[in-house]
Symmetry: C2
Subunit: 403 residues, 2 copies
């Protein structure tokens, strides 16, 4: 609730978009909370923030745990923030109990998980893990024309008191706690979810090019109306991806019209596609259908389909999932295995380090919405399991010995 | 070309939206040009600008001639501006030739004809003529939340040197010169169009209310996706209003999505409808179909259809049209009768004073587009006919005597 003050909306949600003033203020507050515990803050060039608790072995790779502080424009108080603060409170408990551990433990807040201001999302974790280049990432612009590079220069000013560290580096293990963003845990009355994996997600930008003309004088058969073409594409895609089992997730969330004036036939439309499916083969097959479907209904307009990201479905290591399940059992906290329909930063850590996710219930599965809510008891249960897991991981031998 | 410097775009067009800084600078330039000729500038509370050439009878109602200086966001150099400057140059010729006239002649630039920043358009002429209330008009807001009242306060500052006059008042006659915004005159090789009337236009705002949710986790059958519903409405309306003869003009030029983020199912869409037809009965019948068609495809969303304006088709007085035709004949300038598919400020002057319009060709009918263009010879021909008509009208007896 203390973090939800930064970017608070009238409807009780949060608007704290990546690399905004609200984001910087929230990060600075986290740094202050860390200082009170003696945690050393650092940040990298792509805007990821770390709070480090040293272990007994100065050469050991850190155990990372966290999520993100940025939100959707009309986002909630828990998405992302919970994972950062659960890790923070786990570290606080480890310090207060004086629990010894070999590896350093680092709380991390990844830059731009949401992808609402700068698309696509998970920028910080993807660049950290080497899945995307820094060059390509910093050139992305928001709707106002501000680039990630410009916004990072603002970050350098706002966060000047936090020293820079090198980008990337070895990670012993990564654990991310998060609200489920679905209805299952609440419905089953189970406070902790053991996340089996993340469903695949491909994202696209579709640019429809027409010709602006006068709404009163231009004849229909001479028009190149980009809005008529784009709305036809959205309807055709929605029909194509309609499955009776309701497994495919197809979303056009952004749709921008130029010049966007009531009496001017639209000269250009740019819209986003977010396509997800738990089976990677199905997802790839559907992605390949997007461009032909758009072309089939483009009429007199041109269309350019650009794939922005293509993340296949993944499964977290069973050894880590078993461990979460047994820690929960030891603490008498009921748990349930379930997949993640949403994407998370853990997707990008998974290829470079053993990674896991812990879910907690959120009310009715409502998320990316100011009404998002979760129960304090469930949030605490997830943080307790996380704290014990971090201690176990931080006391493992270095990875080379263990594998 | 001198006026096109204000709001000039890289592509050779103009972005000079109503009551913007660019609009104020253009108005101030026109006032300066008028001062050089001895014309007295004044403006009214709703932002209309007048340059007055006195006649011999100080009690006679003025002959008004002009159009508008505001443009679409990606507009051209001729739409509106031509009518203001044709009237200005006609007055200049009348002064330089020392032609006597009884009525004052006033050059007018009406506020916000385009309706792109503040919808609907033709605000200045509608309030001047009493067709819309000042209260309702000043409360309209642009996309940034700025009201017409706020923008008029800016106008008061920018145009402080120009004295205020009372709103409205008697008008002896009104003549508006304008580019055709259609292909007919150019195709026929005729420099002057005698405008028979203006086709009717009804405008609407459609608000589609859904519920924002997560693109990866929310199930299709539980979604209230405002974008899926709104695109279905646009497609259904386009199909309904598709006529083989291509007479109906149906345009959705503005379409705004909230929160407009790639991974959030749209919670709200607001779109515009601009519907025109030369037959008022057909137009009214089509307008009545809009709400039922939207409701038929609203799915799980709500829809609110609001009519913003409803202007039926009109015919200009035959006496004035005959006069334009005969002046053109006297000057050896070929002319052609044709209707106006676009709306103009003359629509609102027509009910309060004898009104007419003179068209000149524009290249390929391209308009509301930065590529808009017109030939100097045609523009001059229209201004010559206008000058002679203004002198004739300004030497008529006062209207009470003449009718």
């Amino acid at each position: 609730m203390a973090m939800a003050r930064f970017g608070a909306t009238a409807a009780g949600g949060v608007n704290r978009q990546a690399l905004s003033a609200e984001d910087f203020v929230a990060q600075a507050e986290l740094v202050r909370w860390g200082e009170a515990l003696g945690l050393a803050a650092s940040r990298d060039r792509i805007g990821n923030l770390f709070l480090r608790l040293p272990g007994t072995d100065p050469d050991a790779a850190p155990v990372l745990s966290g999520s993100h502080l940025d939100s959707q424009p009309t986002g909630g108080r828990f998405d992302g923030v919970y994972g950062v603060l659960a890790a923070f409170e786990a570290v606080q408990a480890i310090i207060e109990r004086g629990v010894a551990h070999r590896h350093p433990i680092e709380v991390v807040a990844w830059m731009n998980e949401e992808g609402s201001r700068f698309a696509p999302g998970m920028m910080g974790s993807a660049v950290f893990a080497g899945a995307r280049t820094e060059e390509e990432t910093v050139s992305v612009r928001d709707a106002a024309g501000v680039s990630v590079a410009d916004a990072l220069a603002q970050c350098d000013i706002a966060m000047a008191q936090v020293p820079l560290r090198a980008l990337g580096g070895p990670v012993h293990a990564y654990v991310e706690a998060h609200i489920e963003q679905g209805p299952v845990l609440e419905r089953e009355g189970i406070p902790v979810g053991v996340v089996s994996g993340i469903q695949g997600k491909h994202t696209f930008r579709v640019e429809v090019l027409g010709e602006p003309s006068h709404a009163g004088t231009s004849e229909r058969r001479e028009r190149k109306d980009a809005l008529i073409a784009a709305t036809a594409m959205v309807q055709a895609l929605a029909a194509e991806f309609h499955d009776a089992e309701d497994i495919t997730k197809f979303t056009v969330g952004r749709f921008e019209v130029f010049p966007n004036a009531p009496s001017v036939v639209a000269g250009k439309v740019v819209f986003s596609i977010d396509l997800r499916h738990p089976r990677s083969d199905r997802l790839r097959a559907m992605s390949a259908r997007i461009e032909p479907i758009c072309r089939a209904v483009q009429g007199p307009c041109e269309v350019v389909v650009t794939r922005l990201s293509a993340a296949d479905s993944l499964e977290f290591p069973t050894a880590l999932r078993d461990r979460i399940r047994s820690i929960a059992g030891r603490l008498d906290i009921p748990s349930l295995d379930l997949p993640s329909a949403a994407g998370h930063d853990a997707r990008y850590l998974h290829p470079i380090a053993p990674s896991a996710m812990i879910f907690v219930p959120c009310h009715l599965g409502i998320t990316h919405n100011e009404a998002e809510s979760a129960e304090p008891g469930d949030l605490a249960a997830g943080a307790r399991v996380l704290a014990d897991l971090l201690v176990e991981l931080a006391n493992e031998p270095a990875r080379k010995e263990s594998e």
